[in-house]
C-alpha cells in the first residue's frame, strides 16, 4: 500500500504546481520567456543573473491563487489535518484567499539546472516530473520518480502543439473532474477526444488529434519514464 503524504510533501507538490504555472507564463507571456531564456547561458560567469532569474522571474511568475486550483487547495486542506482530530487546520476560505508560491529551494534548483551545460536533459526531466506528479499521479500518496531518467524522445509535437500541451497540463492539474477523467479513461479514442476538447486558452490552438492520440496512448500505457520524458521535452522545447 502506498504511503499517504504529509503536509511537507503537499507543499512539495505545490512547488510542482507552481512550476507548471511558471511554464504557463512562459508560453502566454512572450516577454517572460524572452527574458529568462536570454539569461541562462551567462549565469555561470555572471552570478548576479542567477539572483535575477530567481527573484525577478521564476518566483514571481510561479505565483498562483489557490482559488484557481481546486485540486491543490483540497490537497493542502486534507494534509493540514490535526494529528488528533479529523479536522483541518485550514478552511476552504482561508486556502482560497491565499497564494501558492514556489519555494526558494525548488526555484534555486531550477535556476541551477537552467544554467547547466546539460540543461536540456535536467530541466526537461524536472518539468516532466512536475507534469507527471500534478496530472497523472495520485496526489494523496507518495510518488517516487527518482528512478526516472532522461531519454531522448522522437516525434515531439510541433511548436504550436507544444504550447498547447504545456498549457493543458496546468488546466488538467487544476481541475478535479478533468484530472479524474484523464486518469480513469483507459480507452485511447475516448481519451483522445477528451484531450482535444480541453480549452487551453484564448489565442492558442486546442490539442490536435495527432498530439492528443500520442498523449492518450502514453497516459493509458502508464509508463512513467516515457510520460515524464515526452511531456517534459515537449514543454521544454518551447519554454527554455
Amino acid at each position: 500500500m502506498e504511503k499517504s503524504i504529509n503536509l511537507t510533501e503537499a507543499f512539495n507538490i505545490r512547488d510542482q504546481y507552481c512550476c507548471l504555472q511558471l511554464l504557463t507564463g512562459m508560453v502566454t507571456e512572450g516577454n517572460l520567456k524572452d527574458s529568462t531564456s536570454s539569461i541562462y547561458e551567462y549565469m555561470e560567469e555572471i552570478p548576479d543573473l542567477q539572483k535575477i532569474l530567481l527573484n525577478m522571474f521564476y518566483i514571481p511568475n510561479s505565483v498562483m491563487n489557490y482559488s484557481e486550483s481546486e485540486v491543490l487547495s483540497q490537497l493542502i486542506i486534507d494534509t493540514a489535518k490535526s494529528s488528533t482530530t479529523t479536522a483541518s487546520y485550514l478552511t476552504a476560505e482561508q486556502v482560497a484567499g491565499s497564494k501558492a508560491i514556489m519555494s526558494d529551494a525548488y526555484a534555486r534548483a531550477l535556476v541551477v539546472a537552467s544554467g547547466d551545460v546539460k540543461a536540456g536533459e535536467i530541466v526537461s526531466t524536472v518539468i516532466g516530473k512536475a507534469a507527471y506528479r500534478c496530472v497523472v499521479s495520485d496526489l494523496t500518496t507518495e510518488c517516487d520518480l527518482s528512478g526516472v531518467e532522461f531519454a531522448l524522445q522522437r516525434g515531439l509535437p510541433d511548436t504550436n502543439q507544444s504550447d498547447s500541451v504545456t498549457l493543458a497540463m496546468l488546466k488538467i492539474a487544476n481541475n478535479q473532474k478533468l484530472r479524474g477523467a484523464v486518469q480513469t479513461t483507459k480507452d485511447v479514442p475516448a481519451l483522445t477526444t477528451l484531450l482535444q476538447g480541453i480549452d487551453v486558452g484564448a489565442g492558442f490552438d486546442s490539442i490536435n488529434a495527432e498530439t492528443a492520440q500520442q498523449l492518450a496512448e502514453l497516459f493509458t500505457a502508464g509508463d512513467k519514464e516515457k510520460l515524464v520524458n515526452y511531456i517534459g521535452q515537449t514543454m521544454y522545447q518551447v519554454t527554455w
Binding site: D34, I46, G120, R154, L156, D158, Y236
Partner: protein, 496 residues
C-alpha cells in the same frame, strides 16, 4: 586587460624516473596594439570572432546590438534559436568600417543612418576562394577581391581620369560603400531557375563567408575536394569560439530611386561573366547559415550543428496571408497585383483552398498558365510562403520593425533594416527537424531564393540522399567561378 596572457602548461611525464616535470611558461602577446587607441584595439581583438561575442545588454530577446554570442548557448530550444537569429541579423548588418575587412564600427548604431554598409559585405566570397585556390589564398582580412575580367575596363583609370566605378560612386553618393565592391555573377536558384523582377532584371546571388569558414576551407582543402570537410562550430563554455558562417545574399538591380531597401554598388555580369555593368542593387533576401549549435549541450544532432535562418525584404512580394486578406496593393519588386484576375483564379491557378493557394501552383498547375510563382514567365510574380506570418509570433513582417521604433513613441528610426523580416529558422533538435513553426516536416523558403519549391526545406534539401551533388558538412559549396582564368584581382582600397 587587452594583453592576452597565455599560460602554457607543459607536463613532461618521465615514467622511468617517476618524475613529473611541470614547466609553466607565460607568454605575453601584445599583437602590436600598444600604439593604438583602445577602440582600435578592441575592434582588432573582436575581429578574431567577427563581431564582439559579449553583449552589453543580456536580458531580453532582440535588442539591436553590435554583438552576438558564439553559439546559441546551453539550451537548444525555439527561444534560443530564434533569439540568435535576430541577434546575428542585427550584428552582421552592423555598419562596417570604411576601410577594413570584417571590422564593425562600434562607434555607431545600426539604426542611426538610413542605410549603411554591413560588415558581412566585406567578407570574402566563395568565388574569391575558388579563384585563388589552390595557390596560397589571400588572407581573409585582405581587401583584395576578384572581379570578372569583363569588368576590368570599369575599374581602370584612363589617363589619370577617374574610372567608371569611381564616377559611379560619386554619382551615387547616398549609397553606402565599404572596402569592397560587390561582384554579382550568379543568377540560378537552387532549382536552376532564374527570377526576374518586375523591372526585368534577374536576381543575382553571392555567397560570403566569415573568417572561421574561410580558415576551415584553407586548412582542409584536400578534404573539401572529396566532400569530407567539416566546419567549426560555435562553442559553449569551451573557450568561446565562434563557428563558421555563410551568408547567401540575393540582390536585385534597382532601376528606380528606391530608398527603403539596403542598396549597394555592384559590378554585375551575366551568368557567363560577360557584359559587365555598374549597377545599384538592393538586398532582397539573405540566408545566414551559422554553425552555432555547441556539441556539448543536450539534444544536439551531431550530423547537423547549423542553424538555418532566412530573411527577406518586405516589399519583395505579398505573403499568402496578405493575398488572402486582399492586401496586395504595393510597389512590389516581384509581384504585380494585376495577376490576381478572376480568370487566373478560376482557370489557370490551382487555388483549391486558401492555404494551398501557392503550394499548388508550380507542381500541380500542369497548364503552365498560372502566372504566380511560375519560373517560365517573362517577369516573376511571386507570392511569399511566409511560414509564420501572424502577429502572435516573433516571426512576422513587423517583428524587426518593432525594434526600430523610437522609445519616446515618436515613430521609427529611418533605417532600411527595419524593412526586413525573419522568414523562419530551422535546426536539428535531437532526431527531428525543428523550426519556428514547429512543423517537423517543415518548409522554409525565401521568396527570392527558393520561390519555385513549394516544399522547400533547408535541412531536407541539404541532407537529402537523393541529391548526389558533393557537399561538405551538408553545404553545397561548388566552384562557381565558371572559369578561374576569367577573373582578375582588384583592390578597391587602392581606388579610394
Amino acid at each position: 586587460m587587452l594583453l592576452p596572457i597565455i599560460f602554457i602548461v607543459i607536463e613532461l611525464r618521465m615514467t622511468q624516473m617517476k618524475k613529473v616535470l611541470t614547466i609553466v611558461c607565460s607568454v605575453f602577446l601584445s599583437f602590436n596594439l600598444l600604439a593604438k587607441s583602445n577602440t582600435e584595439q578592441e575592434q582588432e581583438l573582436a575581429i578574431v570572432e567577427q563581431v564582439p561575442a559579449a553583449c552589453d545588454y543580456i536580458i531580453g530577446q532582440m535588442r539591436i546590438q553590435a554583438c552576438f554570442p558564439t553559439s546559441i548557448g546551453n539550451n537548444l530550444t525555439l527561444p534560443s534559436v530564434q533569439r540568435s537569429a535576430y541577434q546575428q541579423f542585427y550584428a552582421l548588418n552592423w555598419p562596417g568600417t570604411d576601410n577594413k575587412v570584417g571590422f564593425v564600427d562600434l562607434n555607431t548604431e545600426l539604426y542611426e543612418s538610413n542605410d549603411s554598409f554591413p560588415v558581412w559585405q566585406s567578407w570574402p566570397t566563395l568565388q574569391d576562394f575558388y579563384v585563388s585556390e589552390p595557390s596560397e589564398p589571400a588572407q581573409w582580412f585582405n581587401p583584395s577581391s576578384n572581379i570578372p575580367k569583363s569588368c576590368s575596363a570599369l575599374v581602370t583609370k584612363n589617363d589619370g581620369a577617374k574610372s567608371a566605378l569611381e564616377q559611379f560612386i560619386d554619382a551615387n553618393g547616398d549609397i553606402p560603400f565599404g572596402p569592397k565592391v560587390q561582384v554579382l555573377t550568379l543568377e540560378k536558384t537552387a532549382m536552376n531557375k532564374v527570377i526576374k523582377g518586375q523591372n526585368g532584371h534577374r536576381v543575382k546571388y553571392q555567397i560570403y563567408m566569415n573568417n572561421i569558414a574561410y580558415k576551415n576551407f584553407v586548412q582542409q582543402r584536400a578534404k573539401f575536394a572529396k566532400g569530407e570537410g567539416e566546419f567549426s562550430t560555435g562553442t559553449y563554455k569551451i573557450s568561446a569560439k565562434r563557428g563558421a558562417i555563410f551568408i547567401k545574399a540575393a540582390w536585385q538591380v534597382l532601376k528606380q530611386k528606391n530608398t527603403n531597401i539596403h542598396r549597394s554598388i555592384a559590378l554585375v555580369t551575366d551568368g557567363g561573366l560577360n557584359n559587365c555593368s555598374l549597377e545599384v542593387v538592393g538586398l532582397v533576401g539573405m540566408h545566414i547559415v551559422h554553425k552555432s549549435i555547441p556539441e556539448n549541450i543536450s539534444f544536439v544532432n551531431k550530423t547537423n550543428l547549423w542553424t538555418w535562418s532566412t530573411y527577406q525584404f518586405n516589399d519583395n512580394a505579398p505573403s499568402i496571408k496578405q493575398v488572402n486578406d486582399n492586401k496586395t496593393q504595393g510597389d512590389w519588386l516581384f509581384f504585380n497585383e494585376g495577376v490576381l484576375t478572376e480568370q487566373n483564379y478560376k482557370e489557370h491557378c490551382a487555388f483549391n483552398s486558401e492555404q494551398d493557394l501557392l503550394l499548388q501552383n508550380y507542381y500541380k498547375d500542369k497548364s503552365g498558365k498560372c502566372p504566380i510563382n511560375n519560373p517560365t514567365t517573362a517577369v516573376s510574380n511571386l507570392v511569399s510562403n511566409d511560414l509564420n506570418d501572424n502577429e502572435y509570433t516573433y516571426v512576422n513582417r513587423d517583428a524587426v520593425a518593432d525594434y526600430f521604433r523610437k522609445t519616446d513613441g515618436e515613430g521609427s528610426y529611418p533605417s532600411v533594416w527595419k524593412n526586413y523580416a525573419l522568414s523562419g529558422v530551422q535546426w536539428m533538435q535531437g532526431y527531428d527537424i525543428a523550426d519556428n513553426l514547429g512543423d517537423k516536416h517543415s518548409r522554409l523558403a525565401n521568396v527570392v531564393l527558393e520561390p519555385f519549391i513549394p516544399e522547400s526545406s533547408c535541412i531536407n534539401c541539404h541532407s537529402s540522399k537523393k541529391n548526389k551533388a558533393i557537399r561538405n558538412d551538408l553545404l553545397f559549396l561548388v566552384n562557381n567561378t565558371v572559369s578561374k582564368q576569367d577573373w582578375v584581382s582588384f583592390n578597391m582600397m587602392e581606388t579610394k
